[in-house]
Amino acid sequence: MGLLDKEFSEGNIIITTTENLFNWARLSSLWQVSFGLACCAIEMMATSASHYDFDRFGVIPRPSPRQSDVIIVSGTVTLKMALRVKRLYEQMPDPKYVISMGSCSNCGGPYWEHGYHVLKGVDRVIPVDVYVPGCPPRPEALLEGLLKLQEKIRNESLSKS
């Protein structure tokens, strides 16, 4: 983490900017809403299990959206479910992030042409930060998506423009 690591080993005083401190705190403990829709949810569960641990990045599943930072939309979003996804997103407190996992929530997936009940991409109802491709994406791909989100948070600024 640059400045923060060095200071810890040599003394007990750290000098950093407020922005860096807040961003570091936010990206190191992203709590996710346990929101699994379809097949990608199984790969998300496998990522949380012990082989590809999610907990070492600080990500733990919380059952309620009011206590979480990130929502990983994993699986197909149908028209019946889309309004509920929007409501869940609005229930999360700021700052909140969205990872769209899998082809179905990126763009409709294999059901893009003839699916009369499938929403072609969850970005038609909520704003998405990171898209993870795959059908389903491997756990390593989801971990890379998480790292990209951490990159994005690291470069955020406190003053919202």
């Binding site: 790969e43 496998a46 059952p63």
Partner: protein
């Protein structure tokens, strides 16, 4: 002085940590006791049957994977068996043996998820991690064969897409050697755990008459006392060459047909699947797995109903062909869709916490309930 009470309607909405997917349950409560449960489904309806009318037969196989995503090999097997009967082709023997090995490995993987998430719902988090550890080894075996961990597109009409990897047999034997003591460990952790027994025994008792009338199949029916398994009673592929038992519920910890019985039938089925895999590995012949795949797939005009024993029950495909390269209609009889109807009968008179225990023992996958 009497207390005036009212019934309350509680919503266990589509997003809930214990509903195994996007299922909405509307509970009508009298205090803490449940008087009615109405399930609302359709939150994952992905229009599989409409896709079947425009895709060709080989193109449908990846879509059948995605219905019951925990038992993808078994789904493909059911569809492919139906189309092969319509085409009247016979597959080589090596292909049959490999299909059985893959289906039984998939059955073990699916039951591991069912057991692990059931423990997590009840409150025991450790068996979840142990089950997923064993499941990773099975997914490794699938990955070296066909490249995918969860959704394979491996079983093709008339054969398979790839032959077995040269290390497959050795790694499978290693997996079986490591899995048998892990099963004993799981039994000590969860099956005979006093808290688990208190939460699941005598909960959600399903009498046999009700089960047959509601069309329930699979481990739920076997836990109510009937020894009915499609692998023996309506045998398909080469299951009649193997020697295995069908476990049924005996009411060891409570009554016959309660949640503990449904859970224990799944644990015993994993042991029987290991037996089948061991026998298949000994007997597997040599051959070419892609030799029997036809160049053009245009079945005759007609209809057929083919069914297989999925880890969740009887999966049936009713395929109507009009002689062209795409089917006229494919209707899927999904086991979880039919099993879920009986939830209302099972939950009456129990408390809210028992709904979670009963729903976990029914073992549904919303992908095939909604198709």
């Amino acid at each position: 002085m009497s207390v005036r009470t009212e019934e309350m309607v509680l919503n266990m909405g589509p997003q809930h940590p214990s509903t195994h997917g996007v299922l909405r349950l509307e509970l009508t409560l009298e205090g803490e006791i449940i008087t009615k449960v109405v399930p609302h489904i359709g939150y994952l309806h992905r229009c599989f049957e409409k896709h079947c009318e425009v895709m060709t037969y080989p193109q449908i196989i990846p879509y059948t994977d995605r219905m019951d995503y925990l038992a993808a090999m078994c789904n493909e097997l059911g569809f492919v068996i139906g189309v092969e009967k319509l085409l009247a082709i016979q597959v080589p023997e090596r292909v049959e043996y490999i299909r059985v090995i893959m289906a039984e490995l998939q059955r073990i993987a699916s039951h591991l998820v069912a057991i692990g998430t059931y423990g997590a719902d009840i409150g025991a988090f450790t068996p979840f991690l142990y089950c997923f550890r064993d499941r990773e080894k099975i997914l490794n075996l699938f990955e070296i064969t066909c490249g995918a961990r969860l959704l394979y597109n491996y079983i093709w009409i008339g054969g398979l897409s790839h032959d077995l990897h040269p290390d497959f047999i050795r790694l499978t034997k290693e997996f079986i050697r490591e899995f048998k003591p892990n099963l004993r460990e799981l039994n000590n952790l969860l099956t005979y755990n006093k808290i688990f027994i208190d939460r699941t025994a005598n909960i959600g008792i399903l009498p046999l008459e009700t089960a047959i009338n509601y069309g329930v199949t699979g481990p739920m029916l076997r836990a109510s006392g009937l020894r009915w398994d499609l692998r023996k009673d309506d045998s398909y592929s080469i299951y009649n060459k193997f020697d295995f038992e069908i476990p049924i519920g005996e009411g060891k910890m409570g009554t016959i047909g309660d949640s503990w019985d449904r859970y224990f039938v799944r644990v015993r089925e994993m042991e029987e699947s290991i037996k089948i895999i061991e026998q298949a590995i000994e007997q597997i012949p040599d051959g070419d797995v892609t030799a029997g795949i036809p160049k053009r797939i245009k079945p005759v005009v007609g209809h057929i109903y083919s069914r297989v024993e999925n880890p969740r029950g009887e999966l049936g495909y009713f395929i109507i062909s009009d002689g062209s390269a795409t089917p006229f209609r494919v209707k899927v009889r999904a086991p979880s869709f039919v099993n879920l109807q009986v939830l209302d009968v099972l939950c009456r008179g129990h408390m809210v916490a028992d709904v979670i225990a009963i729903l976990g023992s029914v073992d549904i996958v919303l992908g095939e309930v909604d198709r």
